[in-house]
């Protein structure tokens, strides 16, 4: 009996903490979003917060911005990440196998940097008074640093998109590279003998093989950028702001009675994320991601 329960008991403190903080937090947020807020004397349930939120134009503007930023960031990361992965794959093929691979380390670098730092790097490099604009001005490419396009704290969200693309592309590469390395070295030989040139090999073998992992990696990037806070907080404008930032603004700047609305934003974010997760799961099942790999 003791032997059987011991591992569970040992896990209990960690498990309890996680359950309490994670599910407790979600549950608390869910209750408050439905207006259950004993601290301000509200003990009834209502959908008033959702009602107000869904009828406010700033919510929908936030939603549009969030979707746009998430979609463009994941698309850019997916393209850049796949390009790096394929390039590394062919590079690996052509150089000696035993030599060390500084290339890989270089591309892994962004993975080690926190998002907050990545955001600051973007600020320092791409602001109108940033490194790049001053460099261009000094070289005479632009007359004044204000001629440099507004890439940070711009209403479209380019700063956020670039920061994410830079930060997440190596993640996509990291997800794709092991899949590519499963491509048998001899498949290149087989395809050549049967008449496939370089591009045909990529189109016929490399792309289809990496497609499922690619789609999943892109989806993960999308979900992450959809619900992440710090980079848009640092690089975005105050209005419109992405949903997580919008929620934060509502939560901190408003009164206590605005909090159900702020938490409703979070619940909606969580719901959309779960929904997207289910969609992705459904498609990965349908595609039979690992079909034929045995």
């Amino acid at each position: 009996m003791w032997q059987k329960t011991k591992p569970y008991l040992l896990l209990l403190p960690a498990a309890a903490t996680i359950i309490l903080l994670f599910f407790g937090g979600i549950f608390d947020g869910l209750l408050k979003s439905f207006g259950y807020f004993p601290a301000i004397g509200e003990t009834g349930f209502s959908v008033a917060a959702y009602d107000r939120l869904l009828s406010s134009s700033s919510f929908w503007e936030s939603m549009a911005l969030t979707l746009r930023v998430a979609a463009l960031s994941s698309l850019l990361s997916a393209i850049i990440g796949a390009f790096i992965a394929v390039a590394l794959f062919f590079l690996n093929d052509s150089i000696e196998r035993t030599s060390p691979k500084p290339w890989h380390r270089l591309f892994q670098l962004p993975l080690t940097i926190p998002h907050l730092v990545a955001g600051y790097i973007m600020v320092l490099l791409f602001m109108q008074s940033g490194f790049l604009s001053r460099l261009l001005a000094a070289m005479g490419w632009i007359d004044e640093i204000t001629d440099f396009p507004v890439l940070v704290n711009d209403p479209f969200g380019w700063g956020i998109i670039f920061a994410y693309a830079w930060k997440e592309a190596p993640f996509v590469t990291l997800m794709l590279y092991p899949v590519l390395s499963r491509i048998h070295g001899s498949w290149r030989e087989v395809s050549r003998v049967f008449g496939a040139g370089h591009w045909q090999f990529i189109r016929e073998i490399v792309v289809p093989v990496m497609m499922p992992a690619w789609a999943i990696a892109t989806f993960i990037v999308f979900v992450f950028t959809f619900s992440a806070f710090e980079v848009p907080y640092l690089l975005g404008v105050t209005y419109p702001s992405v949903l997580p930032v919008y929620s934060y603004q509502l939560y901190t700047s408003g009164t206590l009675s605005d909090r159900p609305e702020a938490l409703a934003v979070n619940v909606i974010l969580a719901a959309i994320t779960i929904l997207l997760g289910l969609v992705a799961y459904y498609f990965s099942k349908r595609w039979n991601v690992l079909k034929g790999w045995g």
């Binding site: 048998h184 001899s186 498949w187 030989e189 087989v190 395809s191 050549r192 003998v193 049967f194 008449g195 496939a196 040139g197 045909q200 016929e204 073998i205 289809p208 093989v209 079909k291 034929g292 790999w293 045995g294």
Partner: protein, 356 residues
Amino acid sequence: MSDLRIIDIEKRYRTAEPKGGASSFMLRPVRLTIREGEFFSLLGPSGCGKTTLLKMVAGLLEADGGEVWVGDENLTDVPPESRKFAMVFQQSLLFPHKTIEDNVAFGLKMQKVGKKQRLKAAADMLEHVGLSGFGSRYPDELSGGQQQRVALARALVANPRVLLMDEPFSALDPGLREEMRELLSRIQKEFRVTVLFVTHDRDEAFALSDRIAVMGEGQLRQVGTARQLYERPETTAVAAFLGLKNILSGTVNNGRFTSSDKTLETAVNGELADGDYFLVIRPESIRAAEGDRPGQVSIKGTVQEMTYGRGMYSLKVKAGSQLLECAFTTFQAEKTAVGEPIELLVDMKEAWFVKE
């Protein structure tokens, strides 16, 4: 005529650090002509350079010299994807994300053949290899033997000028291997495709080939039909590789051969200059003595070992310092036993002298 001609093709080691004393050749210059529709095998132990030669013919490996021709077309500088060759490898190397019919149709797709046409060709070819109805499955749903049949179908469907095969059956179990040999032999005759086949299995090479090139230590040793090679090997190396173990060193003097350990002395058929020779005696040409016969020479020895295999007994007989291997019928073998003295007769018409 579109014979495949290999003209002095060679491969050297990358000269970074030549291994102690070994020559710098991976493959010494090879000159071969393989006739259109011929089944030609490269036979040799592993590491003898046969796969290297095959890959150079395919264009997958760059030769350090020499040329490859098909008919009057020089293919030396043509990349592999434009040579219109096909290849079957040791593993089936099917693409796991493609169905069987898409795998088979791959070569045709690369040649821009329309979808309908190439899938029909694939289905036809699958029928030839006995896999009709398997088209929509994926490679991992097939057994190893079936996968190799698909690889064969994939190779043949594009009507290649030369079919290259690199030990295609060596990963299969013996029964399946025999079945695949028969299939390949039948299909090769049906399509009259030129085949260059690499193997280390002499039974396989003998069963399939019109002609065989025996290779060893990075060079071509002898080219001929299976029978020529087995009955008339040019060197002891070829004889030994083909499983001929009765190789007696000795000298020829005035038309008589004497083995070094004096167990055998006999007149030599035909003209042979005096000097050192090796006498190669096939196990089938030795019999137990039942009274003298002209043209045969007798050797006295002791039976050391008897093993039974596929209808015949294999005997090892100690004669002088030589251990002779003899193939006896059951009837002959039953008259003797391990440890008993025996008198052997060698049919000298069947024996063969080599210089080195």
